[in-house]
Amino acid sequence: MKLSRGQMMVDPRAILPVVAIAVGLSAGALVLPIDRRLAMEMLLVFAMAQGWNLLCGYTGLLSFGHHAFVGLGAYALILTVNALGISPYLSLGASALVCVLVALVMVLLLHRMRDAYFSIGIWVLADSLRLLFGQWEWAGSSRGVVLDASAIDPAAFADNVFWLALALALTTQIGTYVLLRSRIGLALMAIRDNENGAASVGIAVARNRLAAFVISAAICGLAGGLYYLSVLYVDPSGGFDIDWQIKILFIVMVGGAGTLEGPVLGTLIYFGLRELFRDAGDLYLIFQGATAMIVMLLAPNGIWGSIQARTNWRLFSIRWTPGPQKPGE
């Protein structure tokens, strides 16, 4: 029997989730001009979480150091704008490029580490970057660096950044969806579930894992670049703050790692909690910790993972099901 793509692909419903999310988010953007900042932050954190989910949920590499790419993306953007005087929107390319290059270097150091070793190894690298940028005089050392805003048209700036954030979030969601439905996605999930088994049927384990790592790094870099572009300033303790990683981890794990819907849900829960307790200072953090504990106890696969197991709902179906056998095959 030949494996073919699941019925969802033939069904017009396959396009529905994409259309729905595009319409939903675009509508949100039009309705929410009151608090664009929050919406932008949500979109960017969501993109980071989905990028991280591609690595953790689909290859099983649990990174504790993706805040490295947030900071790198931010520094790459601001420093190229300041040094070359080019448009900050073009400099986003530098954010992605630097993150891809650094990710490739990191792979040289980390490629044989697994499980907790990988998690800690990349965390140490991220912390080293924070310390290095704190020492680097040209990059403003620990004082940080302010974006040279002379090339920016202030009238359209906030709107442009917002639309870029929306574009990044949508591209990430749809891009990972398409990627995971492709052969690469199938290979990644095979590696996650059984590395030796995957290798024995001819899947290039190292190459596929590298691809997922580099893509997730680039997404976090772009999101970090955009976030700090909107702030116009970055310093080492903010850009390389472990808090970014904690947010990402919370969102993916509570929402449901290894599902494309999980990070969406997780982002809503995280920001929902934060806004709900906005007047009570940092109280939301205590509730955030409690939520993580309770969800992991009741639903170790995250909220969406649990829903999916019970109802078999899939908005973004990436499953392959055995298709009908055509005569002659």
Binding site: Q288, L297, P300
Partner: protein, 290 residues
């Protein structure tokens, strides 16, 4: 001479670093729990110590005993009520639960104590020093170093000479065989977590006597503890202690050479050790070699 002095001071700090790693190594070696809240346990004990010393007339030794007992109870409860529910080959639920706990503890500490820096005052001992060959070593760091050695020796004794210690090691090696011998794996785990948190708490008290801390000190200690454990090799007490000494010496000597770069050189040394070890990792703990 100043380099020799730096190395000696590094060894003193390193003893404490080894102790940071010990609690983490026990929890990982026996229960396979990657305890992200480890750093917060250290800081929590430090705050508890400060509170008891300022609010009650108890002398320091009694405070240490109180904090140790509270820490054992906390570790026991954490394992018995929460972590025993997520046992299994997948370490991620345990990691996320302890991460949630660490967020809660950190922010609860901020709410209660504010985010100012604190430390435990130990009176005249703070400034006393020993001088020999033109070098000076603080009495307090020396005492803390000795305390760390005593705790390592005691833990080693517990693991090799007592029934519960042997049960810990057996649980790490093969819990199914252990259960056929009539031990309840969950009770063993709870006791082991109690011990691990007690050791972290004692490390926290020693830290508070040595240097100042804030509610946000936890993450940094956690990273140090991870580095110590990975440098020393999981499941080896001696490795843990030597890993701590190594990291302490590298940091203090680097700090002497370049006042801004101590932790950075610590990270660098961590990676050098990893590369030298050819990344030939083994996850099987071997308490026997301890």
């Amino acid at each position: 001479m100043s380099i020799v002095e730096a190395i000696l001071n590094g060894l003193m700090v390193g003893g404490l670093y080894g102790l940071f790693g010990l609690g983490l190594a026990l929890a990982f070696g026996i229960m396979r729990v990657v305890n992200i809240a480890h750093g917060e346990f250290i800081v929590l004990a430090a705050y508890l110590g400060v509170s008891l010393l300022t609010l009650t007339p108890l002398p320091l030794p009694l405070v240490v005993i109180c904090v140790a007992m509270a820490a054992f109870a906390l570790g026991w409860l954490l394992q018995a009520t929460i972590l025993n529910r997520v046992l299994g080959p997948n370490p991620i639920p345990g990691m996320v639960i302890t991460m949630g706990l660490s967020i809660m503890l950190r922010n609860a500490l901020v709410k209660i104590y504010g985010s100012n820096i604190r430390s435990i005052e130990v009176g005249a001992l703070q400034d006393r020093g020993l001088s020999f060959f033109g070098m000076s070593i603080g009495v307090l760091p020396l005492l803390i170093f000795s305390a760390a050695i005593v705790l390592f020796v005691a833990t080693n004794f517990l693991l090799t000479r007592t029934t519960i210690g042997r049960a810990f090691r057996a649980a790490a090696d093969d819990f199914e065989i252990l259960e056929t011998l009539g031990f309840d794996r969950r009770k063993i785990y709870s006791a082991a977590m109690g011990l691990a948190v007690t050791l972290s708490a004692l490390a926290g008290l020693l830290l508070a006597m040595r240097s100042s801390f804030s509610p946000f000190s936890g993450a940094e200690r956690l990273l140090i503890a991870f580095e110590v454990v990975i440098i020393g090799g999981l499941g080896s007490l001696r490795g843990c202690f030597l890993g701590g000494l190594f990291l302490g010496v590298v940091q203090v000597v680097a700090l002497r050479l370049n006042p801004n770069a101590g932790p950075l050189f610590g990270h660098l040394a961590f990676f050098v050790v990893l590369l030298v070890k050819q990344m030939n990792f083994s996850f099987r703990p071997a308490w026997r070699r301890a």
